[in-house]
Amino acid sequence: MRALPGKASRQPPGPEPVSRAASADDQRRRILESTADLIAEQGFAETTIEQIVRRARVGYATFYKHYGDKEEAFLALLDAALNRTAYVVEEAYDGESGPWPDKVGAGLGALLKLAAEHPSVARACLVEAPTAGPEAAARHEAMLKRFAPLLRPGRELNPRADKLPESLEETLAGGVLWVINQRLIAGEAEKLRTLLPEALEFLLRPYVGEEVAAREAAGPSHQVTSA
């Protein structure tokens, strides 16, 4: 799977000469793609630099030119994937001109779509990141914190907002990531998009109550007709 942030395909083997900078970008991308695939397939602990360079079709020297070790490559992958995810989710959220529940629906839809399209990266980031040491685990935590501000405006819709726990947004984001994780562990990435209506209801309910949350979640734009 060629799932990394940015470009969807490898450089075309066309006749045009490839600039040095573009070629370094391409090497990095190939290394990170291969790292994601291998980690998703067999776990961080089992993945070796030898496997990475072989799959990325680069030499050891090229690998070490960009990354000090496999952990550094994985951290670079996590950062790239996190930034990409935050960008895609925030863009969908901001781009939705409707009221807040619609914005949440748009952001969540974009998140599920991204994870479904890039299951190796999603699996590497969600399932394997905690296995790769404290720095990688901190990225996971950063992800939750990044989503919290998108949910927080929901408090304005809640008459008992002062009673809502301070960490509600992170808890809710954690619940959604948990269910995504569950699907990834079960190897059911293709079913992720069908989660949209129920995950949306889960996110909205504490702010607007079940009736409104269910109505929003049943909205036509959140129904997934084909997985």
Partner: protein, 231 residues
């Protein structure tokens, strides 16, 4: 883990059967892993760390486990088994479904607050120990789902809740608790009880009623200490 429980088996003719010795060694290895993982984390823990803590030989380790992962899974099962028992006892303590659900949450949080090392093993390190253990962790958490689903009988509304409601709820709470443990605040886990109660009850009783119960005096007061130990 108290040292006296982990002292070496007396040498020579101690009158234990071979099965008893083997069982004891396995338990010591499990306890040894728990101690080592609490000190160094799963990733950095070596078989030598485990056998040193357990005061048994490497050979004995490999007679019992294929490797670190299998030993970790065994330790995880012991802790989960104990939490399951505490939660079941709490549920059997009586009352209506909401009281039972809160009692089970309270017993679980209390246990982990008393045993920060095991909280870390169960809630944090289990996510750091690779995909096989992560899958087992998810399964163990999923066991709670049928108990939460009983809450659906409490609902006034005719409408069915979405099928993943309980998985999302328990997942959110597990993440909340594991982040607290990862932050080194396992001993304060019981502070989360009102939040747990509200989160568990709200889908079934509505936010208002759930909030009332979560912030009612019985939940604020001192909890009954459990006399059971996990070992």
């Amino acid at each position: 883990m108290a040292d006296e429980e982990l002292g070496p088996l007396p040498a020579g003719r101690h009158g234990f059967s071979r099965e008893q010795v083997a069982h004891n060694q396995r338990e010591r290895l499990i306890a040894g892993l728990a101690t080592a993982v609490a000190e160094k984390g799963y990733r950095a823990t070596t078989i030598t760390d485990i056998t040193k803590q357990a005061r048994v030989s490497r050979r004995v380790f490999y007679e019992n486990f294929e490797g670190k992962e299998e030993c970790f899974l065994a330790a995880f099962e012991v802790v989960v088994g104990h939490v399951r028992e505490l939660a079941t006892d709490a549920v059997d303590g009586g009352g209506e479904w909401p009281e039972k659900a809160v009692a089970a949450a309270r017993a679980t949080l209390a246990f982990f607050a008393d045993e920060p090392d095991l909280a870390s093993l169960c809630l944090v390190e289990s996510q750091a120990a690779g995909a096989v253990v992560a899958a087992r962790f998810h399964e163990a958490v999923h066991e709670v789902v049928p108990y939460l689903e009983q809450g659906r009988n409490q609902r006034q509304a005719d409408r069915e809740l979405p099928p993943t409601t309980e998985d999302s709820t328990i997942g959110a709470l597990v993440m909340l608790a594991s982040r607290k443990v990862a932050a080194g605040e396992a001993e304060q886990l019981e502070e989360l009880l009102p939040e747990f109660a509200e989160f568990i009850l709200a889908p079934y009783l509505g936010a208002d009623r759930a909030g009332e119960i979560a912030h009612s005096p019985p939940l604020q007061g001192p909890r009954p200490r459990s006399s059971a130990t996990w070992r």
